[in-house]
Amino acid sequence: LRRVSLAHICAAREGEHYTVVPASSIEEAVPTRVSQTTITSVQRDEQRLIAAAKAGNHDAYGQLLARHQAVAFRAAYLITGSAAEAEEATQEACVKAWLALGRFRSGAPFRPWLVRIAINEAHNRRRSAGRQAGLALRVGSQQAQAGSAPSAETEALAGEERARLASAVGQLREDDQLVIAARYFLGLSETESATALGLRRGTVKSRLARALGRLQTQLEAMR
């Protein structure tokens, strides 16, 4: 069983099906072949919005952005490390995406495409500002998982572990950081990560494996 985000479900590809189970009964969204209605309707709705936006409908484009602007902003923030610059990058990416909608392939998911543009914008801004490469990985205070009540010691240990992991990720080269961020911090699928990073799916797979290997080595060196 695998926990997945709602955003992940919204961007599910054809053939991926999920059943959303109430948190009161089980806290996992379980991949299954049972519930196809929600996914296909979400996909259909998104494709309808894309088609309308391509035809020049601003409202439809606004609805599309409302669904995906948060992940684009998060991607931009990870790269710029500045809320103001991330907002500007996101806004610029959304405008550029509109201008490039004519080249957008019908049936393709919109989210990773927008994220890719946002990543490019964020990179440009960071380069213009002369800042060094590397993602902004600031670990906040831990939030307890729903339904669990970890002790203060457990919380502290988990917090330390995350800080150590963030530090290790931060010492990787940026290509490695980006592929890790796409998969685990932005919640993109392998295919989406490939689109967002402008890579082939196979390249994402191999790069991620190498990045995790280097991360493991880094963590061992930090012990």
């Binding site: 926990r3 020049g56 601003h58 484009y61 606004g62 952005l65 409302a66 602007q69 902003f73 998060r74 923030y77 990870l78 500045s82 103001a84 991330a86 907002e87 500007e88 990058a89 996101t90 806004q91 610029e92 959304c94 405008v95 509109w98 201008l99 490039a100 909608l101 004519g102 080249r103 914008e121 440009n124 801004r125 380069r127 213009s128 500002a129 002369g130 990985l137 600031r138 670990v139 906040g140 831990q142 939030q143 917090g159 572990e161 995350r162 992991l165 963030a166 990720v169 890790i180 961020a181 998969r183 685990y184 911090f185 919640g187 991620l208 494996a209 995790l212 290997g213 991360l215 493991q216």
Partner: protein, 236 residues
């Protein structure tokens, strides 16, 4: 390795401090042009059409003198409209002194004085903040060289009229598209409140204009393109 690290990375992703995502939709929608090209690639197509028109009209202007005044050659960068005309409008003596750069602002505050992050040269002598363009306009002086920065919009803010003696050359500046106007002086007018302010029209020397990310920048007053590019590259 993946199996061991994956849960920790997912948890790290959830614990990373990220500011709340702002709602950029209203501002984005406000910036969208009302009509998009049906066939896509509007920016490149628009540029190609503008360039084609530039060449075509250049020939036409030379061939048909009676229509010269009516012919405009238009090439747009974001927030900048450049029109080539055969006769420059009259400029009152001393108009160049009224630069209308806005209020002087301390150099240390120039970077964040407007709604965008301004790019600064290493050794500016003065900075000004103007509010006559959405998001503000930052002007920087390095001796007699003037740098102007503002957030590029689809609505032209700077209007330039260039005569037959001025040459325009397409260049790439810091990865963005740009134009270098050189030769004879040309005229510059700024927009305020949705209208072109004729009283602020002035003659300008060689000018480099380019887009960099969301910004449109111009450098005025350099002797050569190389000098302008060196200043552009020094902006951080």
């Amino acid at each position: 390795v993946i199996g061991d690290l994956e849960p920790g990375l997912v948890a790290l992703g959830a614990a990373l401090e990220t500011p709340p995502a702002p709602d950029v939709v209203p501002e984005v929608i406000a910036r969208l042009p009302r009509r998009r090209s049906r066939r896509g690639r509007p920016t490149r197509r628009a540029l190609a059409i503008a360039l084609a028109a530039l060449l075509l009209l250049a020939g036409a202007a030379m061939a048909v003198p009676s229509t010269r005044d009516a012919i405009l050659r238009v090439l747009g960068l974001r927030g900048v409209m450049i029109e080539r005309v055969t006769h420059l409008p009259h400029v009152a003596p001393g108009a160049g002194a009224r630069l209308g750069l806005g209020a002087r602002t301390p150099l240390v505050r120039a970077r964040h004085a407007a709604s965008f992050t301004a790019l600064l040269p290493p050794h500016a002598s003065a900075a000004y903040l103007g509010h006559d363009v959405p998001g503000g306009r930052i002007s920087l002086l390095i001796g007699k060289v003037l740098i102007i920065e503002f957030r590029g919009t689809m609505t032209p803010f700077i209007f330039k009229f260039i005569g037959p003696g001025t040459t325009s050359r397409q260049v790439r500046v810091n990865g963005g598209p740009g134009l270098y106007l050189s030769g004879a002086a040309h005229e510059v007018a700024f927009q305020r409140g949705g209208v072109v302010q004729v009283d602020r029209i002035r003659l300008a020397g060689n000018v480099l204009i380019w887009q960099q990310g969301p910004l449109t920048l111009r450098i005025e007053g350099t002797r050569t393109l190389a000098q302008a590019l060196a200043i552009a590259r020094s902006l951080q």
